[in-house]
Assembly symmetry: C2
Homo-oligomer: 180 residues x 2
Protein backbone atom coordinates (compact mmCIF):
# COMPACT_ATOMS: atom_id res chain seq x y z
CA UNK A 1 0.00 0.00 0.00
CA UNK A 2 2.85 2.36 0.73
CA UNK A 3 5.51 3.33 -1.78
CA UNK A 4 8.72 4.91 -0.57
CA UNK A 5 6.58 6.68 1.96
CA UNK A 6 2.89 5.89 2.32
CA UNK A 7 2.25 6.36 -1.38
CA UNK A 8 -1.41 6.23 -2.22
CA UNK A 9 -2.62 7.81 0.96
CA UNK A 10 -3.88 11.21 0.01
CA UNK A 11 -4.24 13.79 2.71
CA UNK A 12 -6.51 16.72 3.31
CA UNK A 13 -4.25 17.81 6.16
CA UNK A 14 -3.44 21.49 5.87
CA UNK A 15 -0.04 20.72 7.36
CA UNK A 16 3.17 19.64 5.67
CA UNK A 17 4.83 16.36 6.60
CA UNK A 18 7.31 18.01 8.97
CA UNK A 19 4.63 20.06 10.72
CA UNK A 20 2.49 16.95 11.00
CA UNK A 21 5.36 15.13 12.72
CA UNK A 22 5.78 18.09 15.05
CA UNK A 23 2.09 17.91 15.96
CA UNK A 24 2.45 14.17 16.61
CA UNK A 25 5.33 14.80 19.02
CA UNK A 26 3.24 17.52 20.71
CA UNK A 27 0.45 14.96 20.98
CA UNK A 28 2.72 12.56 22.88
CA UNK A 29 3.86 15.35 25.21
CA UNK A 30 0.28 16.51 25.87
CA UNK A 31 -0.71 12.91 26.59
CA UNK A 32 2.01 12.76 29.24
CA UNK A 33 0.73 16.00 30.80
CA UNK A 34 -2.84 14.64 30.85
CA UNK A 35 -1.64 11.34 32.39
CA UNK A 36 0.12 13.23 35.20
CA UNK A 37 -2.93 15.48 35.71
CA UNK A 38 -5.50 12.68 35.95
CA UNK A 39 -3.22 10.44 38.01
CA UNK A 40 -2.46 13.24 40.47
CA UNK A 41 -6.19 14.06 40.73
CA UNK A 42 -7.21 10.46 41.33
CA UNK A 43 -4.49 9.91 43.96
CA UNK A 44 -5.03 13.26 45.70
CA UNK A 45 -8.78 12.64 45.92
CA UNK A 46 -8.49 8.95 46.73
CA UNK A 47 -6.07 9.32 49.62
CA UNK A 48 -7.84 12.23 51.30
CA UNK A 49 -9.18 11.72 54.77
CA UNK A 50 -9.44 13.83 57.83
CA UNK A 51 -10.26 12.76 61.35
CA UNK A 52 -11.52 15.43 63.64
CA UNK A 53 -10.40 15.52 67.28
CA UNK A 54 -14.05 15.72 68.33
CA UNK A 55 -17.45 14.67 67.07
CA UNK A 56 -21.07 15.52 67.68
CA UNK A 57 -24.35 13.85 66.97
CA UNK A 58 -24.54 15.31 63.47
CA UNK A 59 -21.02 15.81 62.21
CA UNK A 60 -19.05 12.67 61.51
CA UNK A 61 -15.56 12.67 62.93
CA UNK A 62 -13.91 11.25 59.81
CA UNK A 63 -14.26 12.50 56.26
CA UNK A 64 -13.04 10.71 53.16
CA UNK A 65 -13.87 10.83 49.46
CA UNK A 66 -16.16 7.78 49.52
CA UNK A 67 -18.59 9.63 51.79
CA UNK A 68 -19.76 11.57 48.74
CA UNK A 69 -20.74 9.41 45.73
CA UNK A 70 -19.84 12.21 43.32
CA UNK A 71 -16.26 12.24 44.55
CA UNK A 72 -16.11 8.46 44.06
CA UNK A 73 -17.23 9.02 40.47
CA UNK A 74 -14.49 11.63 40.14
CA UNK A 75 -11.83 9.13 41.23
CA UNK A 76 -13.21 6.41 38.92
CA UNK A 77 -13.48 8.76 35.93
CA UNK A 78 -9.93 10.05 36.40
CA UNK A 79 -8.59 6.52 36.79
CA UNK A 80 -10.30 5.36 33.59
CA UNK A 81 -9.04 8.34 31.61
CA UNK A 82 -5.54 7.88 33.01
CA UNK A 83 -5.53 4.16 32.10
CA UNK A 84 -6.79 4.94 28.59
CA UNK A 85 -4.10 7.59 28.09
CA UNK A 86 -1.35 5.19 29.18
CA UNK A 87 -2.67 2.55 26.77
CA UNK A 88 -2.97 5.08 23.92
CA UNK A 89 0.59 6.30 24.38
CA UNK A 90 2.24 3.57 22.21
CA UNK A 91 -0.21 4.28 19.38
CA UNK A 92 0.52 7.97 19.70
CA UNK A 93 4.28 7.28 19.49
CA UNK A 94 3.69 5.19 16.36
CA UNK A 95 2.09 8.27 14.80
CA UNK A 96 5.33 10.20 15.25
CA UNK A 97 7.08 7.64 13.05
CA UNK A 98 4.27 6.95 10.60
CA UNK A 99 2.94 10.47 10.43
CA UNK A 100 0.32 9.77 7.77
CA UNK A 101 -1.39 6.85 9.51
CA UNK A 102 -5.07 7.50 8.96
CA UNK A 103 -7.41 4.96 10.53
CA UNK A 104 -5.52 4.50 13.79
CA UNK A 105 -5.63 8.28 14.15
CA UNK A 106 -9.43 8.22 13.70
CA UNK A 107 -9.68 5.63 16.48
CA UNK A 108 -7.60 7.84 18.77
CA UNK A 109 -9.72 10.91 17.95
CA UNK A 110 -12.92 9.02 18.68
CA UNK A 111 -11.82 7.64 22.05
CA UNK A 112 -10.14 10.93 22.98
CA UNK A 113 -13.48 12.68 22.53
CA UNK A 114 -15.19 10.11 24.76
CA UNK A 115 -12.48 10.53 27.40
CA UNK A 116 -12.75 14.31 27.17
CA UNK A 117 -16.46 13.98 27.93
CA UNK A 118 -15.76 11.56 30.81
CA UNK A 119 -13.11 13.70 32.51
CA UNK A 120 -15.29 16.81 32.02
CA UNK A 121 -18.25 15.05 33.62
CA UNK A 122 -16.18 13.90 36.59
CA UNK A 123 -14.47 17.23 37.13
CA UNK A 124 -17.60 19.38 36.87
CA UNK A 125 -19.74 17.10 39.04
CA UNK A 126 -17.01 17.11 41.69
CA UNK A 127 -16.66 20.89 41.35
CA UNK A 128 -20.40 21.28 42.02
CA UNK A 129 -20.08 19.23 45.22
CA UNK A 130 -16.85 20.96 46.33
CA UNK A 131 -18.56 24.31 45.83
CA UNK A 132 -21.42 23.11 48.01
CA UNK A 133 -18.98 21.89 50.66
CA UNK A 134 -17.38 25.33 50.73
CA UNK A 135 -20.43 27.56 50.50
CA UNK A 136 -23.33 25.38 51.48
CA UNK A 137 -26.82 26.35 50.39
CA UNK A 138 -29.06 28.28 52.73
CA UNK A 139 -32.21 27.70 50.67
CA UNK A 140 -31.86 23.92 50.72
CA UNK A 141 -30.57 24.05 54.30
CA UNK A 142 -27.31 22.36 53.33
CA UNK A 143 -24.56 23.63 55.60
CA UNK A 144 -20.98 24.17 54.46
CA UNK A 145 -18.85 21.36 55.87
CA UNK A 146 -15.54 23.11 55.23
CA UNK A 147 -15.53 24.90 58.57
CA UNK A 148 -15.10 21.53 60.23
CA UNK A 149 -13.18 19.62 57.58
CA UNK A 150 -10.76 22.31 56.49
CA UNK A 151 -7.84 20.16 55.33
CA UNK A 152 -10.23 17.68 53.64
CA UNK A 153 -11.76 20.58 51.71
CA UNK A 154 -8.37 21.90 50.70
CA UNK A 155 -7.37 18.50 49.34
CA UNK A 156 -10.56 17.91 47.36
CA UNK A 157 -10.41 21.45 45.94
CA UNK A 158 -6.78 20.99 44.96
CA UNK A 159 -7.38 17.64 43.34
CA UNK A 160 -9.77 19.31 40.87
CA UNK A 161 -6.86 21.22 39.33
CA UNK A 162 -5.23 18.16 37.77
CA UNK A 163 -8.52 17.03 36.32
CA UNK A 164 -9.35 20.41 34.79
CA UNK A 165 -5.81 20.66 33.41
CA UNK A 166 -6.27 17.24 31.78
CA UNK A 167 -9.60 18.47 30.37
CA UNK A 168 -7.96 21.49 28.73
CA UNK A 169 -5.09 19.34 27.42
CA UNK A 170 -7.48 16.77 25.92
CA UNK A 171 -9.53 19.53 24.28
CA UNK A 172 -6.40 21.04 22.69
CA UNK A 173 -5.24 17.60 21.63
CA UNK A 174 -8.55 17.02 19.87
CA UNK A 175 -7.81 20.03 17.74
CA UNK A 176 -4.17 19.12 17.07
CA UNK A 177 -5.11 15.56 16.08
CA UNK A 178 -7.67 16.92 13.65
CA UNK A 179 -5.35 19.31 11.85
CA UNK A 180 -2.46 16.83 11.72
CA UNK B 1 -9.69 13.38 -8.21
CA UNK B 2 -12.18 16.25 -7.87
CA UNK B 3 -14.86 17.50 -10.14
CA UNK B 4 -14.86 21.01 -11.59
CA UNK B 5 -15.69 22.55 -8.24
CA UNK B 6 -13.32 22.46 -5.25
CA UNK B 7 -10.36 21.96 -7.51
CA UNK B 8 -7.12 21.47 -5.64
CA UNK B 9 -8.66 20.22 -2.40
CA UNK B 10 -7.43 16.72 -1.80
CA UNK B 11 -9.19 14.58 0.75
CA UNK B 12 -8.12 11.85 3.16
CA UNK B 13 -11.79 11.18 3.91
CA UNK B 14 -12.46 7.45 3.87
CA UNK B 15 -15.93 8.11 2.49
CA UNK B 16 -17.08 8.55 -1.08
CA UNK B 17 -18.67 11.79 -2.19
CA UNK B 18 -22.23 10.44 -1.87
CA UNK B 19 -21.64 8.99 1.59
CA UNK B 20 -20.02 12.25 2.64
CA UNK B 21 -23.16 14.12 1.56
CA UNK B 22 -25.28 11.63 3.52
CA UNK B 23 -23.20 12.28 6.62
CA UNK B 24 -23.61 16.04 6.11
CA UNK B 25 -27.41 15.64 5.98
CA UNK B 26 -27.24 13.49 9.12
CA UNK B 27 -25.19 16.26 10.71
CA UNK B 28 -27.96 18.79 10.05
CA UNK B 29 -30.59 16.44 11.49
CA UNK B 30 -28.50 15.71 14.60
CA UNK B 31 -27.97 19.44 15.08
CA UNK B 32 -31.76 19.90 15.08
CA UNK B 33 -32.14 17.15 17.69
CA UNK B 34 -29.45 18.77 19.87
CA UNK B 35 -31.12 22.19 19.51
CA UNK B 36 -34.44 20.76 20.67
CA UNK B 37 -32.73 18.90 23.54
CA UNK B 38 -30.80 21.87 24.91
CA UNK B 39 -33.68 24.29 24.40
CA UNK B 40 -36.13 21.98 26.17
CA UNK B 41 -33.64 21.50 29.03
CA UNK B 42 -33.03 25.22 29.47
CA UNK B 43 -36.75 26.04 29.38
CA UNK B 44 -37.79 23.15 31.63
CA UNK B 45 -35.17 24.07 34.22
CA UNK B 46 -35.62 27.82 33.87
CA UNK B 47 -39.38 27.83 34.36
CA UNK B 48 -39.46 25.44 37.31
CA UNK B 49 -40.76 26.68 40.58
CA UNK B 50 -42.82 25.23 43.34
CA UNK B 51 -44.52 27.03 46.18
CA UNK B 52 -45.37 24.95 49.19
CA UNK B 53 -48.67 25.49 51.01
CA UNK B 54 -46.74 25.76 54.27
CA UNK B 55 -43.33 26.80 55.51
CA UNK B 56 -41.17 26.31 58.54
CA UNK B 57 -38.16 28.04 59.95
CA UNK B 58 -35.75 25.98 57.89
CA UNK B 59 -37.47 25.00 54.69
CA UNK B 60 -38.19 27.78 52.28
CA UNK B 61 -41.70 27.82 50.90
CA UNK B 62 -40.68 28.50 47.31
CA UNK B 63 -38.12 26.62 45.24
CA UNK B 64 -36.75 27.68 41.87
CA UNK B 65 -33.68 26.90 39.82
CA UNK B 66 -31.80 30.06 40.84
CA UNK B 67 -31.71 28.86 44.45
CA UNK B 68 -28.94 26.47 43.44
CA UNK B 69 -26.03 28.09 41.56
CA UNK B 70 -25.26 24.82 39.76
CA UNK B 71 -28.72 24.77 38.22
CA UNK B 72 -28.19 28.35 37.06
CA UNK B 73 -24.99 27.21 35.37
CA UNK B 74 -26.97 24.37 33.77
CA UNK B 75 -29.47 26.83 32.27
CA UNK B 76 -26.69 29.15 31.05
CA UNK B 77 -24.64 26.30 29.55
CA UNK B 78 -27.65 24.86 27.74
CA UNK B 79 -28.63 28.30 26.43
CA UNK B 80 -25.13 28.95 25.10
CA UNK B 81 -24.94 25.54 23.39
CA UNK B 82 -28.41 26.01 21.92
CA UNK B 83 -27.50 29.46 20.57
CA UNK B 84 -24.27 28.11 19.08
CA UNK B 85 -26.11 25.21 17.42
CA UNK B 86 -28.66 27.57 15.87
CA UNK B 87 -25.86 29.77 14.54
CA UNK B 88 -23.91 26.76 13.22
CA UNK B 89 -26.93 25.38 11.36
CA UNK B 90 -26.46 27.51 8.19
CA UNK B 91 -22.80 26.45 7.96
CA UNK B 92 -23.83 22.84 8.42
CA UNK B 93 -26.39 23.20 5.59
CA UNK B 94 -23.67 24.67 3.37
CA UNK B 95 -21.68 21.47 3.93
CA UNK B 96 -24.51 19.42 2.43
CA UNK B 97 -24.08 21.36 -0.81
CA UNK B 98 -20.30 21.80 -0.75
CA UNK B 99 -19.47 18.40 0.68
CA UNK B 100 -15.69 18.83 0.41
CA UNK B 101 -15.41 22.12 2.25
CA UNK B 102 -12.40 21.66 4.50
CA UNK B 103 -11.57 24.63 6.69
CA UNK B 104 -15.12 25.55 7.63
CA UNK B 105 -15.58 21.93 8.71
CA UNK B 106 -12.50 22.19 10.93
CA UNK B 107 -13.99 25.29 12.57
CA UNK B 108 -17.25 23.41 13.22
CA UNK B 109 -15.39 20.41 14.68
CA UNK B 110 -13.38 22.65 16.98
CA UNK B 111 -16.36 24.58 18.36
CA UNK B 112 -18.48 21.42 18.53
CA UNK B 113 -15.86 19.87 20.81
CA UNK B 114 -15.93 22.95 23.04
CA UNK B 115 -19.74 22.85 23.15
CA UNK B 116 -19.67 19.12 23.92
CA UNK B 117 -17.44 19.89 26.90
CA UNK B 118 -19.73 22.75 28.01
CA UNK B 119 -22.99 20.79 27.82
CA UNK B 120 -21.30 17.81 29.55
CA UNK B 121 -20.07 20.07 32.35
CA UNK B 122 -23.52 21.61 32.83
CA UNK B 123 -25.38 18.31 32.71
CA UNK B 124 -23.08 16.40 35.04
CA UNK B 125 -22.81 19.20 37.60
CA UNK B 126 -26.61 19.49 37.63
CA UNK B 127 -26.92 15.71 37.88
CA UNK B 128 -24.66 15.73 40.97
CA UNK B 129 -26.91 18.32 42.63
CA UNK B 130 -30.14 16.60 41.56
CA UNK B 131 -28.82 13.35 43.02
CA UNK B 132 -28.10 15.17 46.26
CA UNK B 133 -31.60 16.69 46.26
CA UNK B 134 -33.09 13.21 45.88
CA UNK B 135 -30.86 11.21 48.20
CA UNK B 136 -29.23 13.76 50.45
CA UNK B 137 -26.00 12.86 52.21
CA UNK B 138 -26.07 11.58 55.77
CA UNK B 139 -22.33 11.99 56.30
CA UNK B 140 -22.34 15.66 55.39
CA UNK B 141 -25.71 16.12 57.09
CA UNK B 142 -27.32 17.34 53.87
CA UNK B 143 -30.99 16.34 53.86
CA UNK B 144 -32.87 15.34 50.73
CA UNK B 145 -35.16 18.19 49.77
CA UNK B 146 -37.29 16.11 47.41
CA UNK B 147 -39.69 15.01 50.12
CA UNK B 148 -40.87 18.60 50.36
CA UNK B 149 -40.34 19.81 46.83
CA UNK B 150 -41.59 16.80 44.91
CA UNK B 151 -42.78 18.47 41.70
CA UNK B 152 -39.70 20.74 41.66
CA UNK B 153 -37.49 17.64 41.87
CA UNK B 154 -39.40 15.90 39.10
CA UNK B 155 -38.93 18.89 36.81
CA UNK B 156 -35.22 19.32 37.46
CA UNK B 157 -34.64 15.59 37.02
CA UNK B 158 -36.60 15.57 33.77
CA UNK B 159 -34.78 18.59 32.39
CA UNK B 160 -31.51 16.65 32.57
CA UNK B 161 -32.74 14.27 29.87
CA UNK B 162 -32.65 16.85 27.08
CA UNK B 163 -29.17 17.92 28.07
CA UNK B 164 -27.79 14.37 28.19
CA UNK B 165 -29.46 13.60 24.85
CA UNK B 166 -27.76 16.67 23.37
CA UNK B 167 -24.48 15.43 24.84
CA UNK B 168 -24.78 12.03 23.15
CA UNK B 169 -25.82 13.66 19.87
CA UNK B 170 -22.87 16.08 19.94
CA UNK B 171 -20.47 13.22 20.70
CA UNK B 172 -21.81 11.19 17.75
CA UNK B 173 -21.66 14.25 15.55
CA UNK B 174 -18.01 14.73 16.41
CA UNK B 175 -17.32 11.30 14.99
CA UNK B 176 -19.45 11.79 11.88
CA UNK B 177 -17.82 15.14 11.13
CA UNK B 178 -14.41 13.53 11.40
CA UNK B 179 -15.06 10.64 9.02
CA UNK B 180 -16.88 12.83 6.50
Amino acid sequence: MEGPEEHGETSKAPLSRGASKGVSILDVILRFVAIIGTLASAIAMGTTNQTLPFFTQFIRFKAQYSDLPTLTFFVVANSIVCAYLVLSLPLSIVHVIRSRAKYSRLILIFFDAAMLALVTAGASAAAAIVYLAHKGNARANWLAICQQFDSFCERISGSLIGSFAAMVVLACQQFFLKIS
